[in-house]
């Protein structure tokens, strides 16, 4: 245990995802040794992100206004929605330049073991968007791992009565991975070759 401020910082850093006690200690001492100006810039970036960034009222993506850049763009196809788990997946898909529709960010995947059920995700909001009948295709681009697949299964069953076209990214995306790690070419191909889900 260190005294006051140092231990405080280690504790706070240790609460971040993927940061264990050892890494927290390493980052804390790195910050202690860094220039004051550099540390202030980091602190400001942290405060600013909380003050300026919110979530798009339409799709749930990160946004600096009430709607995100993509939802505000009149050139985007309003008839197609691509469902992803996180905002970082939007970034990964945008990089492929294959998709011209809009997104819906669920905020995670169904994971009963972590206590995350359908009600904990932005599924009700998705159903509201689908209710006006403007949407013709729903692309399920949840992660190609078990929880992503289960979430896609759940959504496909839920929207089935609405009679719209439901597709899933083609295989070719390695099962077991995170969408964010897929390279542009692979992800682009998975988009082109997306298959209809029949339930």
């Amino acid at each position: 245990m260190y005294e006051g401020a140092v231990q405080n910082l280690i504790d706070e850093l240790g609460r971040l995802p993927g940061v264990g006690p050892k890494s927290a200690q390493r980052i804390a001492f790195h910050l202690l040794a860094a220039e004051t100006a550099d540390v202030k810039r980091l602190a400001n970036a942290l405060v600013e992100v909380k003050e300026r960034v919110r979530f798009c009222s339409v799709c749930g993506n990160v946004a600096e206004e009430s709607e995100c850049r993509i939802c505000r763009d009149p050139r985007r196809d309003t008839a197609v929605i691509c469902v992803v788990e996180e905002s970082k997946d939007v970034v990964a898909i945008e990089r492929t330049r294959e998709f011209r529709g809009r997104y819906h960010v669920l905020g995670g995947a169904i994971s009963p073991i972590e206590g995350v059920g359908p009600d904990d995700l932005r599924i009700k909001e998705l159903m509201t968007r689908l209710a006006d009948g403007q949407i013709t295709e729903l692309i399920l681009a949840t992660d190609p791992n078990l929880e992503g697949e289960a979430t896609a299964t759940y959504l496909a069953r839920l929207v089935k009565p609405m009679g719209l076209k439901v597709t899933r990214l083609a295989s070719g995306l390695p099962v077991g991975g995170d969408l964010e790690y897929a390279d542009e070419v692979t992800l682009g191909r998975a988009f082109e070759g997306r298959r209809s889900l029949e339930f």
């Binding site: 073991i113 206590g115 991975g177």
Partner: protein
């Protein structure tokens, strides 16, 4: 560093750092094992889907200081594919994995019967021949029995007098006779108790012919009984869907 080989079912994975995962497995010879799968989350990972939950894998590991490290994994049977395409099946299977981990509890203490019970249940679930919730309840009852917590169903949990008793007390250990009956008992239908007996004994023709309301009552009793015996409870049980 010592290498060992075993086979096991992946129960759970948790993200570790940038691209690794901590993989919890129930193995045939070693029991519960927590091990690191390096680089699993990268899409070009050599492990691919082999370290996903529900996969039965043949593994090579080396003993680490805190966690073991997986060096090789070959799929023996991927139960996930048949389970994940059906939501009620998926939620039932997830509750099984969570129960397996919480009922075995101690790491590296061989639990062969629990292992065999789990792969049997996953196989049955994938074959889609019975209601997923029945398969789950059968698994939960037998897993409790293997752990030494079988509920009394055909005798009184307190005095042992034989017969079909009308009261069921979770904290007393199952059915109780009218003399021993404590306050706050459940009074399940006789058919519900018979269903529990059938599930515990593997009598599928009897279990499959049960009525929905008795299945629902059975699930409720099994869940309450399980939560009473496992200190931390089974989180995923709340999300199990009836088909």
């Amino acid at each position: 560093m010592s290498l060992y080989r075993d086979e096991g079912v992946v129960l759970r994975t948790q993200k570790l750092g940038e691209a690794d995962r901590i993989v919890t497995l129930l193995t045939r010879r070693t029991g519960l094992v927590r091990a690191v799968g390096k680089g699993v989350r990268r899409t070009k990972s050599r492990f691919g889907a082999r370290l996903e939950p529900f996969t039965h894998v043949d593994l090579q590991l080396y003993t680490g200081r805190t966690l073991d490290v997986i060096t090789q994994a070959e799929t023996l049977r991927a139960y996930g594919e048949s389970i994940v395409t059906d939501y009620p099946r998926y939620t039932a299977a997830t509750a099984m994995l969570e129960t397996a981990e919480k009922i075995v509890v101690v790491e590296k203490d061989p639990a062969l019967r629990q292992f065999l019970l789990l792969i049997g249940a996953l196989r049955t679930l994938g074959e889609d021949t019975h209601d997923p919730r029945l398969v789950l309840d059968a698994y939960l009852l037998r897993s409790l029995a293997v752990a030494g917590y079988a509920p009394a169903l055909e005798e009184c949990a307190k005095c042992g007098s034989r017969g079909e008793h009308r009261a069921f007390a979770v904290h007393a250990g199952g059915s109780v006779c009218s003399v021993c009956r404590p306050h706050g008992c459940a009074h399940p239908a006789p058919q519900t108790l018979r269903l529990m007996v059938a599930l515990l004994g593997g009598d599928w023709p009897e279990a499959d012919s049960s009525a929905d309301r008795h299945r629902a009552e059975c699930s409720g009793l099994v869940a309450a009984y399980l939560q009473w015996h496992l200190e931390n409870g089974i989180r995923s049980l709340r999300l199990v869907e009836r088909s």
